[in-house]
């Protein structure tokens, strides 16, 4: 299972629409979750609408939180999206077998068996989460909270039985026109990682869309090298295309 988790505090303002980019990700089998971090006021109506829209297009969840709720929200969202992804895949299977569109339409006894399978897969299937952090100027005071949330997420993922990895990106890149920069390649532990974000030069633009596309590409390239299927991935790959 592949996820992108975008943490931002406002509107994108350059390049491809992030909604289009998120839809791209979704068509590649990557779910996009979005957390809008509020500080004192609000992300603004426009920002809130965009955040909601990106998650919708990306088949994920969106939520507005203040910095104190960030860790809890990030780990909950990731967990929920895992279940949702499997649920969708199982739903598809059910449709073929029973001609039945939803798990909710099953009587509680049958539902119980299906949910048991979903829970098991949610715990054991392989999971990758690429975190995409908006590091534009207004996010600067919030980056410490973001780092804590990343460490906290890693802790939750480590408790899973399936292989779990995260990678971290931030955007905008430096002046050379990079859309986003890889801070941390796929890893399943953060031992010894104290500062995920090096001294960041806060840029003025917010190329959310291009940054999402960059990660879709990163996933795609990674998959070339990983054609030999992991043993932990076995069950899911039958379900998720």
């Amino acid at each position: 299972m592949k996820q992108i988790l975008l943490i931002t505090d406002g509107c994108s303002n350059v390049g491809l629409s992030p909604v289009v980019a998120a839809a791209h990700a979704q068509s590649e089998g990557i779910s996009v979750n979005v957390v809008g971090v509020l500080d004192h006021g609000d992300v603004g109506e426009l920002g809130a609408a965009e955040i909601d829209e990106i998650a919708r297009a990306g088949g994920g969840l969106s939520r507005m939180v203040n910095m104190r709720q960030l860790s809890q929200t990030v780990q909950m969202m990731t967990r929920k999206t895992v279940v949702q992804t499997i649920q969708l895949a199982v739903q598809k299977e059910l449709k073929q077998v029973l001609g039945n569109a939803s798990i909710e339409a099953l009587p509680p006894e049958k539902r119980s068996d299906v949910v048991r399978v979903i829970d098991e897969l949610g715990e054991t299937s392989r999971l990758q989460v690429a975190l995409l952090i908006d590091a534009s100027a207004s996010m600067k005071p919030k980056l410490a909270a973001v780092e804590d949330a990343i460490h906290d997420l890693m802790l939750s993922l480590q408790a899973r039985q399936g292989k779990s990895e995260i990678s971290v990106f931030h955007f905008p890149g430096s002046r050379h026109g990079d859309d986003c920069i890889l801070d941390l390649d796929w890893t399943s532990h953060l031992n010894g990682v104290h500062a995920i974000f090096p001294k960041l030069q806060m840029g003025g633009t917010t190329p959310t869309g291009p940054a999402i596309m960059h990660i879709v590409d990163f996933y795609r390239k990674g998959d070339y090298g990983r054609q030999s299927r992991d043993e932990t991935d076995g069950m899911m790959s039958d379900y998720v295309v």
Binding site: S71, P108, R111, S112, E123
Partner: protein, 307 residues
Amino acid sequence: MTTSFKVDLRRGMMVTGKWKQGRYRVERLLGEGANGKVYLVQRDRSWYAMKLGIDALDLQSEVNVLQSIAKQKQHGQESYLFDVDDLYGPDGREYPFYVMRYVLGSKTDDFLKRQGAEWFPLVGLNLLGKLAKLHQAGWVFGDLKVENVLVADYGHVELVDYGGVTAVGKSIRQFTEIYDRGYWNGGSRSADPQYDLFSFAVLCIQLHEPKRLQHLTVELLPQNRSVGELMQIVENSPALKPVAGWLQRAFAGQFADAGDASAAWRSLMHRRDTHRSSSTPFWLKGLAAASAVLLGISVYWLLRNLM
């Protein structure tokens, strides 16, 4: 998460299960959890608690846990789960629900406030007993906190909200930050009996020193949260001092399971300092001293007048 829970059952409303046609009369809202609302309902003159979920899968997963626990229970024990079904809400949408035994009780902190802190050791022991049974069956409660422990008369304890219950070895399904071992950098979020005992120890602090605990969560940077900081509160609290050794062991994960932990807790209960006889209030001491002085003066005055 994007959808908020809007369904609202009102008092006196009759609801009927879609599959099994069980009819319930809604009395009132009992509480709201992470993934649903719990109502007090009546069926055939008996009271039950009905948990109404937002998400069918989420609730079913909780029901599965309850059913497996019920299967493991010995005969003769009252069953916790009574009915599982769907209902049509006032908005016309379908909502999943399950019906469980209704436990008349109050939240741990309210109970201790009303009945007195001297009930604490017994309530703690009973709670450990409940956890021990879960652990024996291969489960971890997960989301242990003040709100999820109901205390009835004479310190009887019931765990509510099984949304966090996790099979040993898997990742904890639902937790609350301040009770979480990972939050305090005290270990993993994998389900093991020690996870519950860690939360139990935090719960003890929450019951006696809620303000200091709250203060810690605000003051400390995440990387500085530690068991040491928690133990500092314990050492400075007269109410917790007697159980400090026990709490330290719980934080360090040194008990094999809740059964082991409860044996250690029980041996503490028979020590005199655990049940601190409420020491004489300061004003009473003052009053006694004042009356002694007055007595002295009056005796002196009497003697002087007699002579």
